[in-house]
Point group: C2
Chain length 305, copies 2
């Protein structure tokens, strides 16, 4: 496959890192007073590249989600689906992908107006799910996840043309300062860092565990952190973290006894559907990066009791 | 060597973990009004097992210490001393031991009234340095350090009879929530957890990098965390963290660009000097656990400009 569109965000093509300004809006609507949440929160998303919405889901709803999570982690059909990330040693399931298609409950969550409605406002139109997953990060030896921009990977490896996507993480456990919360550099979504190095074949199978290509250089990260600082996304179970596709983020490991789990949906504007990857490799499989169905989500109010 | 004293804190001797109450006082003086710091801070140390004292050392003094740290990390004689911990891959120095003997500047710091004077009050009498080191934890891939009680190791591997020791960490960099600060379970110093498993020979050479024996079981850690919570020792450079020998502590890794360094002194009461280890192995070498000189420190005011 070859790109039909010019590569406006090249990466992994040069021996030296480069920075460029973001070419796309962060919030695609101007009429903030019509937003489904306070205009101030949308403005904060625009400025910082993320926002934490406390307790969007009730404790009872979180309990429903967690029961389904526990069922799935123990379900042999899920383990055998080939759509999971497992621990190299124990085989324990850490992530299950494609839940917006395979799991009826979590497919409804993807269309939930309380989250997808906000994403639709920010991205200015109809959406589809580019990626979905259930994440389970155990206590005691939760692994770190190094700094990255999601968009860099989605662009280079999946062929997402422009920055018109965002991630939505629904916290199923309390996220505290000490148990490896999402770390973000507020405002870093306005710069795009061209990473160094070419993409190896089948990079995804390894990079979802530990990324080594598509990783920003240490000098760029130090500059970004010095100018933007580092914040963490902390909140009780049921809270939602919305973050822009290009914000620099990562997480430290977790030695605390507290496991962390979340539901994760990436919303992409239907006009920004993926094309051929902007690298020499085949695209990642569709359970990691949707390319089977770009139809607009039917966003509706949902309840789960 | 065989212990001349009964083993009041057995560990690594049974197949099942056991808990016991601490047999020793935390603060060995009653006259808190005579303490060199506010009585309230001493009371907090007794209750929580640690206390953070902000900016005990001035920015100018921290600068002096950091210059010496940088000189040492680059000093081939230091690297060749055999008293360092180095990265397995790069050989970069991460810790230098025995600085209370080998380094004139840091030997003075060990006797500094601002820290040793407080330790002398808490431990109720004359002190010597059981262990000293300079730690350098790099940014981007600082490793985690798993939960442990220092006393468990000092008792079993070094032969420290009783809980009458404390650690003093002088922060040479800002410690923030995100760059892998010391995590502590406040109040956990009142229970002693008997760990499972026997001590292998020359355990120290590996355990200083990554501990696997002398590690509490996950059930005990979960119970401790549930009843005590987890706090982090955060403060600007120049601050001092004092913590009891038996408090449960550890640290997460650090993906942030901010390196962390500190000076670390363990003070032990002269009446609690180490004897034969409470295990079947030879004691750890004296640069890790002092057994050459138990004479009382000459504690004096110090300035470093």
């Amino acid at each position: 496959m070859t790109p039909v569109q010019a590569d406006l965000y090249p990466s992994r093509q040069c021996a030296e890192p480069r920075w460029q300004e973001r070419l796309d809006p962060v919030v695609h609507r101007q009429d903030l007073d019509n937003a489904p949440i306070a205009a101030e929160l949308i403005a904060r998303f625009e400025r910082d590249g993320y926002v934490v919405l406390p307790k969007v889901f009730s404790a009872a709803e979180v309990a429903v989600f967690r029961r389904e999570l526990e069922r799935m982690l123990a379900d042999e059909a899920v383990v055998a689906s080939g759509k999971t990330i497992q621990e190299p040693d124990s085989g324990a399931v850490r992530s299950v992908f494609d839940i917006h298609r395979d799991n009826p409950l979590f497919a409804r969550v993807a269309r939930d107006e309380r989250i997808a409605g906000i994403a639709r406002f920010i991205l200015g139109g109809d959406l589809y799910v580019h990626q979905s997953r259930l994440n389970f990060k155990p206590g005691f030896d939760g692994k770190e996840f190094y700094w990255h921009s999601d968009f860099e990977t989605w662009h280079v490896e999946d062929g997402m043309p422009r920055m018109r996507a965002l991630s939505c993480s629904i916290l199923l456990t309390d996220n505290q300062a000490h148990n490896g919360p999402l770390l973000l550099m507020p405002g870093s979504h306005r710069q795009y860092i061209h990473c160094v190095g070419a993409t190896p074949e089948n990079h995804y199978a390894q990079s979802l565990r530990r990324q080594e290509v598509g990783v920003p250089d240490q000098v760029s990260l130090s500059e970004l952190a010095a100018s933007h600082g580092i914040d963490s996304a902390i909140g009780p179970a049921g809270s939602v973290v919305l973050f822009d596709c290009n914000i620099m983020h990562g997480s430290n490991g977790n030695i605390t006894p507290d496991a962390r789990s979340n539901l994760f949906y990436v919303y992409n504007h239907v006009g920004n559907a993926v094309q051929a990857p902007f690298c020499e490799q085949s695209p990642r499989p569709p359970f990691v990066a949707e390319r089977r169905d770009f139809r607009a989500l039917d966003i509706q109010p949902q309840r789960y009791i």
